[in-house]
Symmetry: D3
């Protein structure tokens, strides 16, 4: 079961949270996580298939999905998290910065290794944990 | 708690499911649902605020979010659901068609009424219920 | 001469039909067909050219054009076709579903074979035939 | 009957023509024309409906469709037309430039008057006429 | 004269700097600044023109340009700046976070006041100043 | 030092100029130039690295950056330059047309040769020279 779901079960938070820039007030780290799971699955399929056409397609799509991971994380960082959150979690800036780097050229974009995608997923889960704590507060 | 989460808790399914066109095998109706929740929140904020600038911005963003709902539902319909699913659930074609229409001009795009967004959410939950049943099978 | 044009010549229909989600009332299956013709031409050029840079570019662009085929067909299915159409043409749901699958991973995205593109074009023509019949009625 | 269709009937040209940047060799001025017809229909609906929500949505969508008109015309100008065409049709540069301006702020974007859309359509037809002459040659 | 230009004149740095995620190594805060200047100009034109069509268009375009400001700043934060930069400039995380917030709902997206755009421009200049110092080092 | 900067230093022009289709009045050839510098850097990295994954990624990103070059140049041609400019600079139409072709299939998209990118940069500088002259007038 995915970590964000486990966390969402054991914490009594409201369900819906802002994610567009109205702002509508619906944010959910699941958006970044779903794309990162896709990136990992792409890496696994890439390693298991040596057909050059398939591999080129895998890299094209991995590039797009990794960009979506970055975007969803940037939105949380800018639009959801507020100064009090950064004060309470002094590591939060660096954490999101590292996660977005792990979705970029030095991470999931630049590598087709599923272990790199796993590191990205772990970072997203760290952010999700903080996210859900702040929702609970 | 959102329905797709409740369902995901009471059914022993695998967690990750395809959503890009490699295909990676990671699909999740939560993507459509999160955008639709955003649409509903936008409608509520629209009704509660008569400032013309705010209202114009709300309509701009509602248009984008509704389009994302349509897109995520189309992806499920074309990329996740297969002929055996349509055979087992004969109402599935019409259901997705109605849901996408409810996200369009005759639904959430064409109206700022939260009740219209509620109807869209209900349709998405019907699709999600079938989705999770097929994951379990 | 492309089929949609032949059909348009032998049937006395109005020329302009809705395609945006206002809705403006201008729909035309030619939009999907033009992109699918592009996909076929890309496949032919791919097969005729072994230069790896050219082939990678061909796959990048084929991915984009195939996505546009899917999008234009989805718009017809959701925004143009109405319940009476689905009643009169019970095969219409499956037809559009198959056509969009033929533009995706199990079709034109996943293959650089011009014959796959031909199958996609044939499906689009079946949809276009129904489309123009409904315009005439 | 739209002009490009009339022309396509009376001239013995090949059907498919390049439009992506492989290049695939499939170009068709119908792409710009369909979007411009949409723009015109939006203007007409705008004038006939004073509901502020509807009008805002009309302006949002008109902006997008007008941008597509510009894009399709730019593609013809850069990717399809070659130096010999510009030599044979010395007015062609100015013609496309005026057409794209008519799709922008000083034309269909900046105005909701159907007559402005008509001027845009007329310019597109002038370009289409030249286009089909060059296909024939 | 814009600040980034003044700075670029008085410091002997290399001209080209990474901005895509290859990474290509071409970054330039001018990208964010040009979009923010556009946002400011839109605000000024909005205040000077009470035509409702014009105002709606201004808000549509301001939304897009503000999003581009956010995107360009996010790219600098994730792709250009590295741990040693964050160590040397401990305020850098908060600075970029504030700048992106100033381009969003609580800033240039949510307001048509040119003074809000001025604050955004000032923040971008602070980031640009640090950027050019790091290029020089 | 990049040419547009040198020119901007020796000519007493206003700094900010239109680039969105409000129009906001902020145009700057630097936008096209930054993307073209990126294209050149990508070509150089491509030639220096034989890893197939890296090369595929380089081609994916080069395709996107070249498209942005075309887009920024098209915007200048349609939205900034006016009939009096085309009258004063009779070569301007052909110049922009050649520059956009050099960013497309017969130029930077179709080739990974840094010299092709250099030709593109030189054309952009010719356009920038005219642009700044017209700002000065």
């Amino acid at each position: 079961m995915r970590l964000s779901r486990v966390i969402s079960l054991i914490t009594p938070h409201a369900v819906a949270e802002a994610h567009c820039d109205l702002p509508c007030g619906v944010y959910d780290p699941a958006q970044a996580r779903i794309e990162a799971e896709s990136v990992k699955a792409i890496c696994e399929k890439y390693q298991a298939n040596e057909d050059p056409e398939f591999r080129t397609r895998a890299l094209i799509i991995k590039e797009q999905r990794s960009e979506l991971v970055k975007h969803h994380l940037w939105v949380l960082w800018t639009d959801y998290f507020k100064p009090p959150h950064f004060e309470k979690y002094p590591q939060l800036h660096a954490l999101v910065n590292e996660a977005t780097k792990l979705a970029g050229a030095s991470g999931a974009k630049g590598s087709a290794d599923p272990e790199v995608a796993d590191k990205l997923l772990a970072k997203i889960d760290e952010i999700a944990k903080i996210f859900w704590e702040t929702k609970q507060a």
